[in-house]
Amino acid sequence: MSGATTEMSRQVISKQSQVRKLLKKVEPANFKERPKELAWNKGWNLFNKPRGG
């Protein structure tokens, strides 16, 4: 981890109670039956692209 990344992590840790509180509001209902990787930012409803339709 670079120094800048570490600093960002430190900021997150300093606000961990707020993070925990908001995490409860984004329960991952759409993560079911997805490979672990897709439970992250490349997952379908959560995926970045494409934008169309």
């Binding site: 840790i13 961990q16 995490l23 997805r34 490979p35 672990k36 490349k42 379908w44 934008r51 339709g53």
Partner: protein, 363 residues
């Protein structure tokens, strides 16, 4: 059988383009052939089903039907297209998702979505005044037709998500946009700030981008009724830093997109149909001729993929947001900078870095 030579990639989801045509002509659309009615042959899904069966994957792979406008393919043809995949679906090996502009949804389509277990995503940019870029080929507003489609989804009790494209004109309207998505009953919304992509040369820019994310985050915090994709992603990542959620896997979805003619491109659907002096047409193979594993194997050796990996490694060493973003989008690097080995793009700043900074500031 191992699909990949190392742990850099995995096969997560597949985009399919049943047709190039779209009944809308949105001002920011990046697709070059949306006025041409080129349609996928059902032989292609026979081959796809065989390929996926041969891979013996131990998890569910979402097939995302995109376009053009996928419903413009026609429901009877669509049934023929997905029937070869039914065995895999019933075994839980695949699932169907569709991203539609919503204007062609009727009762039959709703029954179709339910019968085949589709997850439905509707593309709509917000309330009527902010949806004015979504017009048909005669320049007519599409809002009422989209809302009629959404109303039918709700009547049929079909859950749906939304994707909104936000142009510079709409950056001041974050609260109205969020409130709109609360009102229409969607489960979540993904925010796509307008990007320089394909045939579209504009992108959201300026200080208003930060203001937009700030106002959106505040609106969501005040009434967290609809999940916002970007905030969900960021909070999940932050959760991993404090041990609340699992760490983001350090792998990239190779994300095949299968075009109407069987052409397969990797990493970014937007490059389907693009041309480059360095990378030609980006096509790694054709599913009417080769199986998917052969195409993925060949693709990993292509210059395009090798240079993308170089770019990701540069991102890893240079960018403080890497732990969250994992290396940026190939299509943005190509269309914005003409260089797949590049690192930071406007898309990175607008849609990854700024929202992270905003959430961190306003938590």
């Amino acid at each position: 059988m191992s699909l990949f030579k190392d742990d850099f990639f995995f096969l997560g989801q597949i985009v399919l383009q049943p047709t190039t045509v779209c009944n809308l002509n949105c001002s920011y659309c990046y697709l070059p052939s949306r006025d041409k009615n080129l349609k996928m042959d059902s032989r292609l899904t026979v081959n796809l089903a065989q390929s996926l069966s041969d891979l013996s994957l131990e998890y569910n792979v979402p097939l995302i039907w995109h376009g053009g406008e996928p419903l413009a393919y026609g429901i009877d043809h669509f049934v023929k297209l997905i029937e070869p995949l039914e065995k895999l679906r019933k075994e839980g090996k695949i699932s169907h998702c569709v991203q539609t502009n919503g204007t062609l949804i009727d009762d039959r389509w709703c029954e179709f979505f339910k019968n085949y277990g589709f997850e439905v995503g509707v593309s709509i940019d917000g309330p009527q005044l902010l949806n004015s870029n979504r017009v048909d080929w005669q320049g007519n507003d599409s809002f009422n037709k989209i809302m009629r489609g959404i109303s039918l989804l709700r009547t049929h009790r079909i859950n749906f998500t939304c994707i909104a494209v936000i142009t510079n004109d709409a950056l001041q309207e974050a609260r109205d946009i969020y409130n709109f998505f609360c009102q229409i009953g969607c489960e979540s919304v993904g925010i796509n700030l307008e990007e320089r992509m394909g045939t579209n040369l504009n992108s959201a820019h300026g200080e208003e981008v930060t203001t937009f994310w700030e106002e959106l985050f505040k609106a969501w915090q005040e009434n967290p009724q609809v999940r916002v994709r970007e905030f969900t992603n960021i909070l999940q990542w932050m959760g991993s830093l404090i041990g609340e959620t699992e760490a983001i896997p350090n792998r990239t979805d190779i994300f095949p997109t299968i075009g109407w003619d069987g052409s397969v491109v990797l990493l970014s659907p937007e490059i389907l149909g693009a041309q480059s002096l360095l990378y030609n047409n980006f096509v790694a193979g054709n599913l009417l001729k080769d199986d998917l594993s052969t195409i993925l194997e060949r693709g990993q050796k292509s210059r395009y993929i090798r240079e993308y990996r170089q770019g990701v490694e540069r991102c890893r060493s240079e960018c403080k947001f890497f732990d969250y973003c994992r290396g940026g989008q190939a299509s943005n690097k190509f269309f914005e900078l003409g260089d797949i080995t590049a690192t930071e793009t406007t898309h990175c700043r607008n849609s990854q870095q700024t929202p992270v900074e905003v959430v961190l500031k306003w938590l």
